[in-house]
């Protein structure tokens, strides 16, 4: 496992921005949980809590105009890439000011203004799309890369295989970034594969496969930076596997059979000891780059920012029902089956 000790190239400023974005994700998702518990948020909510370092470390290794695809657990990714929080939260609430006008919801956040091409509720569904975005960048020689996020569960799906192979033969600048949190809902990656590391599959496609500590944002950032460099210089794709953990259940409000336990309590606790936000805070303090007070101010600032976003979202009206029939096509056609 790569853990990067030499991080001289990441400035304190950048590290603080990393911390800010991780905090944004954490607070955003904590508020989502809370608002959902109050009965105000429809649909299912899969939080990014625990994955913040993996997400932000990767997102901050690319530019705003680089492409990104997410998956069902992707509240955090547009935040990592710099999206405005208000429209994201409004989207979770299905409101008119949602980033997708309330049509997408939690699993389909898309924000083209920051290169976020969308997310897929179908596991592995957006992986081929990221290959195409990379191919397109290459054909248009615009120097962009495509950052493709997915979970360990997706690595057993056919689209993963076809996509990695295509990206390899086409040498697309795609970074396949697997957030391996050890489980697909209740199903352990240990049961789902007869191997330990998803990164080992890279060899079957002729691309580098790198394992990184997903709780260590600087390690993630370094590994992804290298993969991005490879991509931009025409050397093709990389598979990055970040070992991480989700601190919450698969989705909020999900019910399992009474007494069914798929994660040992000790395992959960062990990982909680490796909270990515605490880890970076500790590091910053150790380095002497920030004070406790400055960190607290940062968190307060972020909390306030999220609070504004939540309020913006709650204040946003529901979309007009007739909006359901808009934006299906770029060149609209009569919609059939609209019952009178």
């Amino acid at each position: 496992m790569t853990t990067i000790e030499d991080v001289a190239d990441v400035t304190t400023e950048v590290k603080i921005e990393m911390q800010r974005r991780m905090l944004r994700i954490r607070h955003f998702d904590l508020r989502a949980i809370e608002v959902q518990a109050r009965g105000l948020m429809p649909g299912s909510v899969h939080t990014s809590i625990g994955h913040e370092a993996a997400i932000v470390g990767a997102c901050m290794a690319v530019n705003t105009d680089d492409y990104m695809t997410g998956y069902h657990r992707s509240h955090g990714h547009p935040i990592g890439k710099g999206s405005k929080l208000g429209p994201l939260f409004a989207e979770l609430l299905g409101r008119a000011d949602g980033v997708c006008g309330g049509k997408g919801g939690s699993m389909h956040l898309a924000d083209f203004s920051v290169g976020s091409l969308g997310e897929s509720g179908i596991v592995a569904g957006s992986i081929p799309v990221a290959v195409g975005a990379g191919l397109s960048a290459k054909m248009q020689k615009n120097g962009r890369v495509a950052l493709c996020f997915f979970g360990d569960g997706a690595a057993n799906a056919g689209p993963f295989h076809e996509s990695l192979n295509l990206a390899a033969i086409w040498k697309t600048p795609t970074i396949f970034f697997c957030e391996n949190n050890g489980f697909a809902v209740s199903f352990s990656a240990k049961e789902a594969m007869a191997i330990e590391d998803i990164a080992d599959r890279a060899a079957g496609y002729g691309m580098p496969g790198v394992i990184v500590d997903g709780q260590d944002i600087l390690a993630v950032h370094s590994v992804v930076t290298e993969a991005v460099d490879r991509g931009r210089s025409g050397l093709g794709p990389t598979l990055v596997e970040a070992k991480t953990y989700r601190f919450r259940e698969h989705s909020e409000l999900m019910r399992m059979a009474v007494g069914y336990q798929y994660r040992p309590v000790e395992e959960v606790q062990e990982w909680e000891q490796r909270d990515p936000i605490v880890l970076l805070a500790d590091r910053l303090l150790q380095e002497g780059s920030v004070t406790e007070k400055e960190l607290q101010d940062l968190e307060d600032e972020v909390a306030a920012e999220v609070e504004v976003a939540v309020q913006f979202a709650l204040d946003s009206p529901f979309p007009d029902p007739s909006e359901a029939f808009e934006n299906i096509y770029a060149s609209p056609i009569p919609v059939r089956g609209v019952t009178r």
Partner: protein
Amino acid sequence: MSTVRTSYLDANLGAIASEMHRDPSVFFMGQDLRAGVFGNFPVDEFHADRVRSLPISETGFLGAAIGAAMTGMRPIVDMTFSNLLYSAMDQIVNQAAKLRYMSNGQARVPLVILASLYYGGNQAAHHADRPISLFTNSPGLKIVAPTTPDDVRGLTLTAIREDDPVIIFRDSNVQGVREEISAEARTIPFGLADVKREGTDVTIVGIANGVRLGMRAATQLETEGVSVEVVDPRSLVPLDVDSILRSVQKTGRVVVVDPSPLTCSFASELVATIAQEAFGSLKAAPERVTGADVPTPFSSPLEHSTLPNVDRVVAAVRRVVA
């Protein structure tokens, strides 16, 4: 006759469990099955081999179920969300549906596929499709869409005992429905429609939760003096054309209610069949109350405007009897 009170979902899972007790070749696979995410199945009553949780490999495990079915086992696969059927489409449509035919009857494929229709609950476009007609237009499959606890139990028993591939579409809007049903389970043959309510003025044929919308509309219309007959085809392939025609011949008017998008829906099939076979009996233009031809939006006001509801059914009936 003693009865039990049971929900639709429990009746479905209960039928599976009872068949597994009866026949050792039956086994059950699904994602997070052992965790009970999609209903409480009595996992512990069976050897772990027979209740399998699955990795995310829809093509692989659906195909594996086909191979097992062809070689002496009777697999049941819960695909959970109907949208995930697309990920196994080739195996379902090119393999399961065709292997018997291509081998001229050498293969038998006793396979049951469960697929839930989870619309109307803010699941958004990747989890809320109603792709029934994609499969009814793919010959070689049998397809049922039960709407009551009793029906789902009886049709599940039949499905498991059939030597053919069967898809059971479970409408999530009926999965929670509880009903008093006979304690003794009985199989319900495929191809037998059920008149859920008798009436004389107009026939409502309902697909999936369309049956419940039809029943509610019927109750409301009764107060206006309109007598509605509600027919539930229950099995779509094979289809009990005769019973449906018989009702339409009696009432002369028909509204079909189907949650799927309109174009090429099963509602369209029924209206076409009725227009072709019972033309002389029709006293008014048939109507379809279906989903709109749009992907399913997330937000409630948007989603609801794309789906059939009781008011729309009532309005259609009023037009038809006007």
